[in-house]
């Protein structure tokens, strides 16, 4: 059952490898590359949001840390792109380790606020530092090969997807995370260390996000605090995940494709009405939270989908064990 699904994923992945053979238009290939990037950002966001119930409003920070680390190493230290981007991922992972230590003990809403604030702090820091170029941003050596970036992005996001599939859907790790999401206190009694598991998920979310940021920096050749560290990455990833279906692997992919397609079409034809875009996006999210609690994917009849309350309804609670005094007398 699961294996047949994996075959499906591999088939889709193989098909996307052929895109540059069919799409010769440079602009269109850029659009495809960006779509793949957003799939990556949505899937990485969902590792934490969907599997542990924590909404990371600082997801953009990982992306920005990866982008800036890559840019600094390439521009200031003369590194090659690949090791620089890998180090960008490592830097994001270390960022997660440091940020996760205090924040992952918090309850869901406080975590969301804390990560958002941390991301803002990092953005401010980048604005005042010299090595980052401050508000002027950084220009990277230009490498103008749309195909190269399409394949790098696709390879990176593909590897991330299949690694996640193995860890979250195959290995015990995914089930353990879900246990923590459903009931942290109950999970502890079964030998699970919730803080450690959440930390692992956080790092698992951060590292590929950082590398994606590094690829993005080299691809667009110019980065500044607004484009890499702004709220857009976190907000858009959240929207994609909620719309597509939280807590699944395919949901964020579907959500990313649909939202990104809509966004691209909108900008192509209605770019004068930016406010309208925001309004529509907001309405779509409100609508999908109310009418599609499991996202677009939840509308399809499927086996093995969770049917309990979603994490947003319940919140990842750090509730103490029960201490009630007045019930259940035989």
């Amino acid at each position: 059952m699961k294996d047949r699904r994996l075959l499906g994923y591999l088939f889709v992945f193989a098909a996307t490898l052929l895109v540059p053979a069919v799409v010769h238009d440079t602009f269109l290939l850029r659009v495809f590359t960006e779509a793949v990037m957003w799939i990556g950002l949505a899937v990485t966001f969902d590792v934490l949001a969907g599997y542990t119930g924590y909404l990371n409003f600082g997801h953009s920070a990982f992306f920005g840390i990866g982008a800036y680390t890559t840019a600094i190493l390439m521009v200031r230290a003369g590194w090659h792109f690949a090791p620089a981007a890998v180090l960008g991922g490592a830097a994001a992972g270390i960022g997660a380790l440091i940020a996760g230590f205090p924040t992952l003990r918090l309850r869901g809403a406080y975590f969301a606020i804390a990560t958002w604030a941390l991301a803002r702090a990092i953005q401010q820091l980048v604005l005042i530092m010299d090595v980052t170029g401050g508000p002027d941003g950084m220009r990277l050596p230009a490498f103008l090969s749309p195909r190269f970036f399409y394949y790098v992005m696709l390879g990176l996001v593909g590897i991330t997807f299949f690694a996640y599939w193995f860890l979250l859907e195959r290995a015990p790790f995914g089930l353990k995370l879900k246990a923590v999401r459903e009931d942290e206190q109950g999970a502890k009694a079964l030998g699970l260390n919730p803080t450690k598991l959440k930390m692992q998920a956080f790092i698992l979310s951060a590292v590929p996000t950082g590398i994606i940021g590094g690829v993005f920096a080299y691809w667009v050749t110019f980065i500044d605090p607004a484009s890499t560290l702004g709220d857009l990455v976190s907000d858009q990833a959240l929207v994609m995940v909620v719309f597509g279906g939280m807590g699944t692997l395919v949901g964020p992919v579907v959500g990313a494709i649909l939202i990104f397609a809509f966004k691209t079409a909108f900008w192509a034809y209605l770019s004068d009405y930016e406010v309208l875009y925001i309004i529509i996006l907001g309405a779509v999210i409100a609508g999908s939270v109310v009418f599609l609690p499991n996202g677009v994917l939840g509308v399809l009849p499927q086996r093995g989908r969770r049917n309990g309350p979603s994490p947003e309804e319940k919140g990842p609670g750090a509730v103490l064990p029960e201490t009630e005094g007045g019930n259940s007398h035989g």
Partner: protein
């Protein structure tokens, strides 16, 4: 008698000014079933939470298999062999019954396939196998209480804390659960059980420990404890049974 498996030594747990458990000492020996009784609010669940690592003791200590375990977190204690159920059951509602038990099975069987095999055995034993693929939220109260026992059991514990696993069940289900508990003892598991239903606790316990307002007021064989004037007073005084 053999070395005690659990030693509760002068244990106190305060919540602010309230001593929910106050200077309580008792021991549990291997393969015993010890009943922990007392009126509502006596501190039974709090004592369970301290023994299983959810609260650190305010004073006193707990030895498990001769080692001081005071203040160790629950997930470490699960690894040491302490399993527990929750009075307010804690199924993972969005997951299937099987997945619930598989998660517990990972403790002793880190590989998924082995964990599933083990989980199936536990489901057979607890008679939940036919509901394995249902969501845990869809179970009846009796089913959820049995799942609670199943999850604790999947940890292969040497010592089990059962907090009101019978309360709220109908008489047939009660008998069913009693049989299950006795079978666990036959497997060599030591049990500390909180239960309000006297018929149950008298039948299965080798020994009783009685708490009232956080303090131990009596300890001994069920027949003796039931005649203890202090115990009778606590129950009549508290209007509880």
């Amino acid at each position: 008698m053999a070395e005690p498996i659990l030693v509760v030594d002068n244990l106190t747990k305060n919540f602010g000014g309230l001593a929910a458990v106050s200077e309580v000492s008792f021991q549990v020996h291997p393969k015993e079933i010890v009943g922990l009784i007392g009126p509502n609010g006596a501190g039974k669940t709090t004592l369970f939470n301290v023994i299983s690592g959810y609260f650190a003791p305010s004073r006193g200590k707990i030895l498990f298999q001769g080692k001081n375990i005071s203040g160790k977190p629950p997930y470490v204690l699960a690894g040491r062999g302490i399993g527990r159920t929750f009075q307010v059951v804690k199924p993972f509602p969005g997951l299937s019954v099987l997945e619930n038990v598989v998660i517990a099975s990972f403790l002793r069987h880190p590989k998924r396939a082995r964990a599933e095999e083990h989980a199936w055995k536990v489901l057979e034993f607890t008679e939940l196998a036919d509901k394995a693929h249902q969501s845990a939220a869809s179970l009846t109260l009796a089913g959820r209480k049995r799942l609670e026992i199943g999850k604790a059991l999947a940890l292969d514990p040497t010592f089990l804390l059962l907090d009101e696993v019978v309360a709220g069940l109908n008489p047939t289900e009660v008998d069913h659960t009693i049989d299950l508990i006795l079978k666990l003892r036959d497997r060599g598991i030591t049990i500390l059980i909180v239960e309000h239903i006297m018929r149950v606790i008298m039948r299965i316990s080798d020994r009783l420990v009685v708490l009232n307002f956080g303090q131990k007021i009596a300890e001994g064989p069920p027949g003796e404890v039931a005649r203890d004037p202090g115990v009778v007073e606590a129950y009549l005084g508290g209007g509880e049974a």
